[in-house]
């Protein structure tokens, strides 16, 4: 469908989301002005803190890498028509699984292999976590949005239980945490930077997801089932297996994000792992309209916005929740822009087709 679009339609697919982000910037500016800050100074600060220097870029990219992975947890099932928001829970479960593996293996294996094992276990654990959501949906008809969300809270409760009790390192007093992962299993940085290898994982995962969904029969089957389940069943597609597989893949990406956060950033498991990367990932998935390649770009943009939270507080006296308000406004504007497809004659091949605008799937 994408490939048969004319250039006008492709232009529409770029201009409308860009317009939505622009509109969100304007609304956010008005909001800042009402809050007593100069909107243009705020824009300038966000730009400077996000993309103004190499150091700012590194901060941005550090935040972008988990977003790419958690966004896939929403975007992949979305191609099947499922709205899954269990990203935070799958990330926590991935981090938990990685920590248990890393601490369990300790120095029994060379550091590199401990790291590989951590990643694999996190991928499987996160995958199974979201696969359970898919299974409940397919076999029991349980609404996947609500079940995945409830499982976020269950995952966080499990995390709190373990780090407060069985897994707690009594010598670490700052906050209840697990023991530290051995240093040889830490995820290193890209040469000469502060950016860890998680960024590469994120980019590779997004590219793989794109190829899988757009260029393979598996992806075609999934998109068909997402378009019309009944037609897919008639065509003999195994809808149940597709649901489980896609949910597993989505969850495994979020699980890997949890492992990366542990192995590269946190080093030990505690409540800081619950840092809203999961919820921001939902935003990334929707803004990029579930297109994995667009997600790389959107993650970098949102990573920049997240990176600017501190400077808004320091230079403009705006509370740190400002970034959250901005995210909310962007999200709302992008959702509204979905209703604009097909409404502008300039993007239509033949003006007579305006009335069939509903054929553009949302």
């Amino acid at each position: 469908m994408m490939s048969t679009q004319s250039w006008r339609r492709s232009l529409e697919a770029v201009v409308i989301p860009a317009g939505a982000v622009l509109g969100a910037l304007v609304i956010f500016g008005i909001f800042c002005a009402l809050a007593g800050a100069n909107p243009f100074a705020v824009y300038g600060s966000i730009y400077k803190a996000a993309f103004g220097s190499w150091s700012a870029w590194q901060n941005t990219l550090l935040r972008a890498s988990p977003l790419m992975l958690t966004a896939l947890c929403t975007a992949l099932p979305a191609r099947l028509g499922l709205v899954i928001i269990g990203n935070e829970g799958a990330l926590v479960i991935g981090a938990l699984a990685a920590t248990v593996t890393g601490l369990g293996l300790g120095t029994a294996l060379p550091g590199f292999w401990v790291m590989v094992a951590m990643a694999l276990v996190a991928i499987v654990a996160g995958g199974l976590w979201i696969m359970a959501v898919g299974a409940l949906r397919h076999y029991r008809g349980v609404n996947e949005t609500i079940s995945s969300l409830l499982m976020n809270y269950i995952a966080i409760a499990l995390l709190n239980h373990l780090v407060q009790g069985p897994m707690r390192d009594p010598s670490f007093v700052t906050k209840p945490s697990s023991f530290e992962i051995v240093q040889s299993a830490w995820l290193g940085n890209l040469p000469t930077t502060r950016i860890h290898y998680g960024l590469i994982y994120g980019v590779i995962a997004c590219i793989l997801a794109y190829v899988l969904m757009q260029r393979t029969t598996f992806g075609f089957a999934a998109r068909t089932a997402g378009g019309n389940v009944r037609a897919a069943r008639m065509a003999g597609l195994p809808v149940g297996k597709l649901t489980l597989a896609i949910c597993f893949l989505g969850g495994s990406c979020a699980g890997l994000a949890g492992m990366v956060e542990i192995a590269a950033v946190q080093r030990r498991l505690n409540e800081s792992i619950v840092s809203n990367y999961g919820y921001a990932g939902i935003l990334v998935a929707f803004v990029s309209r579930h297109n994995p390649l667009a997600m790389v770009l959107v993650s970098v943009l949102l990573g920049g916005i997240l990176a600017s939270g501190g400077i808004l507080q320091r230079s403009h006296g705006l509370p740190d929740a400002t970034v959250m308000v901005f995210q909310g406004i962007v999200f709302l504007c992008v959702l509204f822009s979905d209703s604009l497809y097909g409404r502008f004659p300039i993007f239509q091949d033949r003006p007579a087709r305006i009335s069939t605008g509903s054929s553009v799937s949302a």
């Binding site: 949005t145 079940s147 409830l150 979905d338």
Partner: protein
Amino acid sequence: MAAEALGWWGVPLGILAGTLRGSVPFLFVSLGECLTEKSGKINLGLEGTLLMGAMSAYAIAYLASGVVGPALAPWLGVLVAGIAGMGLGAIHGWLSQQPRVNDVATGIAMIIFGGGLANFLGKPFIQPQAPQLPTLNAGAWSSVPQVQSALQISPLFLLGVAVVPLMSWFFKSTRWGLYVRAVGDSPESAKAMGISIFKVRMASIVMGSFLAGIGGASLSLYYPGVWTERISSGQGLMAVALVIFARWQPWQCLWASLLFGGAQALGPAFQSVGINAYYYLFNAAPYLLTLVIMILTCSPKQTLAGAPGALGKED
């Protein structure tokens, strides 16, 4: 601690107290969600509404206590919380009815936006102490202090219980209730009757959000009675599951809210008798309960009995 003197009686007493306290936000949010879903739309954003309600009620109660006195100020806060909820509801109602805009996605966006706005505006009010709503001491007959404190019933609880028969009557016996049900069950025939689907859904979502805003006020002005950024802890989302469990019936929303309030009280109740080991796991009880209930009551073969016909369908 005198709780030790009570021994194991502290557990059922703690659960009773927690049920009376913790069910208030559930009751308001589930009634609000019930009204919204009866009209055929889902509002996941009630989580953000709850936060916004909690913040605005607390802020107004704090700011107004010097002007109208500490007795009236919390009630003003409750009213403003409802109005703030209506504002968020209007955004949701308008946006989710645009063509090709998914109401679930809009709800998620409203959680981020409403929550962000509440945290933004509520930052200065985390520290100060706002005047709380008064409570009715139904336990004055008892000489045991735990019983007395357990039976401190909020007037908001009674208000919520009063809304239940009112809403039930509204759906069954009024013209407007029929409009809401018609729009939710069969938009086509509602349109044929000359009813504006947009207006009815807008009104239902806005009124539902008003109730959810009051639910938020009960969090910050009654129990736990403080304003923090995480005070809603998913209760607005659980309302969606709760309404499914309650089969879209206001009376069943009341029973479900009591059940959920009780489940939430398990952790603190066991902690009060010295069982701390599984405190955090007990905190997951309401979420697990919701999940189990959904697994047991849902079916892939048919839609649930009582579900509005147009719920979750594209216009």
